[in-house]
């Protein structure tokens, strides 16, 4: 019965979100620029929330609280540092520069921008291919999160695959029906909704257990080590490498990177930048603390379930718990849509059109994009059934993969001397190595390569961090050794003068 109410609220909410997307779709023009970038006309509030909404993923709502529950509230510090401060700085360094360049030349994707700068179709395809590769585990992460959320909410009445399938179906329906404008508007509404409801949820649970002091008190009784900073999995190596790889990775995410092109003026970027740390904190604080406090609550978290739905079910009425989960799932769906949408633009503009069918008509291109989304989401769904790791592990793999792209891109943005070959080597080599490391842990054929390197006294450091340095070194050194190609044009990235 309660499982029925929960499921009813979730499905109802997802349908309502789909309806909003459809309304937005109806007022959309049918050009590519509008479909992908909403005609570069996004204002502060919408830009802020549509970027913010990308944080509203299974990684934040379910992965984060799960980790805080298992290992302690330090996750708040890791995420706050990387997203609130480091990402904000990169927002300026990468985002503003890209916005200036994109505004001048009308670029829609990262690959397009780099391909044009270096006069290289191959580089364009490489960047798009690499991005799609790492987008795959991140989409998978959303499906895993949704599956586990419904297990937690319904006490196992809805199986894991059912929840994952439900969110996949909605994702496909949504992205094939609405473009960027639809996604941007639902992102804003859902962002505001989630921000308020997560605070209401925290207040509700805290008052039920007797206040903040009591919640922390029982957490410390159950897990005394949660009170002191550091310890357990939170070694300096873990904190620094996670913060750096995720923050750099986030800037290269197709849906985030594409956001850098959509602001309607630089004032929008500036205002978003100054508000960012506070907004990030407002979301993470209640979500992760609920996870950590749950360690001291008399609740039973079933195997393979997320902790947040279980806590809500125990301390709030079913309809409210279902509303929070529905909101989280809708937000995840919306951010998955942004990803799939950006991914499909990478696919059609940087791979399909340049390499397969340069003369494709606009409608053929649109259909290819939609077909691509369906295939991609379905494959990710199938892979998510295998559950290759925890939400944080899968997410971290995706972030690290993108992070390896970031330093060569920053080189391209700021160093005129960067050459096509430098970019190609700086991107391809570290990516190949990292892919090998990741695959070796999934496939039984090859011996598992270590994911971390232990340094005395500071714990394990992610190999991706070393590979980031390698990507930087290769880009700079190979650029020095090779001459710029005739088709390259550094002046395309100039932003001042003319």
């Amino acid at each position: 019965m309660t499982a029925g109410i929960g499921l009813g609220v979730v499905v109802g909410y997802l349908i309502a979100a789909l309806a909003i997307g459809l309304v937005a779709y109806r007022i959309t023009e049918s050009t590519a620029e509008d479909y992908y970038l909403a005609n570069r006309s996004i204002g502060t509030l919408v830009l802020l929330f549509t970027t913010f909404a990308t944080l509203l993923s299974a990684f934040t709502f379910f992965g984060g609280p799960n980790l805080a529950y298992a290992a302690g509230p330090e996750w708040l510090v890791v995420m706050g540092t990387l997203d609130g401060v480091l990402f904000a700085v990169l927002w300026y360094v990468v985002g503003y520069k890209q916005w200036l360049i994109g505004e001048r030349h009308g670029y829609v994707t990262l690959g397009e921008m780099l391909g044009d700068r270096f006069g290289s179709r191959g580089l364009r395809g490489l960047v798009a291919g690499v991005s799609l590769l790492w987008l795959f585990p991140y989409v998978m992460l959303q499906q895993m999160g949704a599956g586990e959320a419904l297990v937690g909410l319904t006490g196992g009445a809805v199986p894991y695959w059912g929840g994952a399938a439900l969110v996949t179906a909605f994702m496909i329906a949504y992205v094939t029906l609405a473009g960027m404008r639809g996604v941007a508007w639902t992102d804003t509404i859902q962002g505001l909704f989630m921000l308020s409801i997560v605070w209401i949820a925290a207040a509700w649970v805290v008052s039920a257990v007797g206040g903040v002091g009591a919640a922390t008190g029982s957490m410390l009784t159950a897990r005394p080590e949660f009170g002191s900073f550091g310890g357990g999995v939170y070694t300096p190596g873990f904190i620094v490498s996670t913060a750096i790889t995720i923050a750099f990775g986030v800037t290269m995410f197709p849906q985030i990177n594409q956001r850098f092109f959509v602001a309607d003026s630089s004032a929008v970027l500036k205002r978003s930048f100054a508000l960012w740390p506070v907004l990030v904190l407002l979301l993470f604080l209640p979500a992760f603390l609920l996870g950590a406090w749950a360690a001291g609550m008399p609740i039973d978290v079933p195997e393979g379930a997320n902790v947040l739905p279980v806590v809500l079910n125990a301390y709030t009425p079913t309809w409210f718990a279902a509303l929070v989960i529905a909101g989280a799932m809708a937000a995840m769906m919306s951010s998955s849509d942004s990803m799939l949408l950006s991914g499909s633009s990478y696919f059609t503009r940087d791979l399909y059109r340049p390499f397969v069918n340069p003369d494709a008509s606009a409608s053929r291109e649109a259909w290819t994009a939609r077909l691509g989304v369906v295939v991609f989401a379905t494959l990710a769904f199938l892979a998510s059934l295998l559950r290759p790791g925890t939400l944080i592990e899968v997410g971290d793999t995706a972030f690290s993969g993108f992070a390896l792209l970031s330093l060569p891109v920053i080189c391209a943005l700021y160093r005129d001397r960067t050459t096509r070959d430098g970019m190609a080597v700086g991107i391809a080599v570290p990516q190949a190595v990292y892919l090998l490391v990741v695959l070796s842990s999934v496939l039984p054929l090859v011996p598992t390569l270590p994911r971390t390197v232990a340094v005395a006294g500071t714990g394990g450091w992610d190999v991706a961090l070393g590979l980031m340095l390698l990507s930087l070194a290769l880009t700079v050194v190979v650029s020095r050794l090779t001459a710029p190609t005739a088709d390259g044009d550094a002046s395309r990235f100039a932003v001042a003068g003319d």
Binding site: G80, T81, G106, V212, T216, P224, S228, L281
Partner: protein, 93 residues
């Protein structure tokens, strides 16, 4: 001046000096308060960065011109010599 400021903001968003400290203040571990306060401080610093005009200077742009060009169709918003699709800057604003 802003480069070291940002470096410090990023580095100490993690409460390193409180490593291993387990004091609870006002219901939460004290290092959580450090982090909360630090992010608030970062937001203020970012605001100062934007207001000081360093936002434009950092990219080699002339702040005065840029701000004047905002909102209307300044000379810098207009054209570009490249063969790409150039969408008129003014229409977008």
């Amino acid at each position: 001046m802003w480069v070291p400021t940002f470096a410090v903001l990023v580095a100490f968003a993690v409460p390193w000096p409180l490593w291993g400290v387990d004091r609870v203040v006002a219901g939460l571990p004290v290092w959580i308060w450090w982090h909360v306060g630090w992010l608030g401080l970062s937001a203020l610093a970012f605001r100062a960065f934007v207001r000081s005009g360093a936002w434009e200077r950092g990219m080699g742009l002339d702040a005065e011109k840029r701000n004047a060009g905002e909102g209307d169709c300044g000379p810098d918003a207009a054209t570009d010599g490249g063969p790409d699709t150039v969408i008129d800057g003014c229409e977008r604003r």
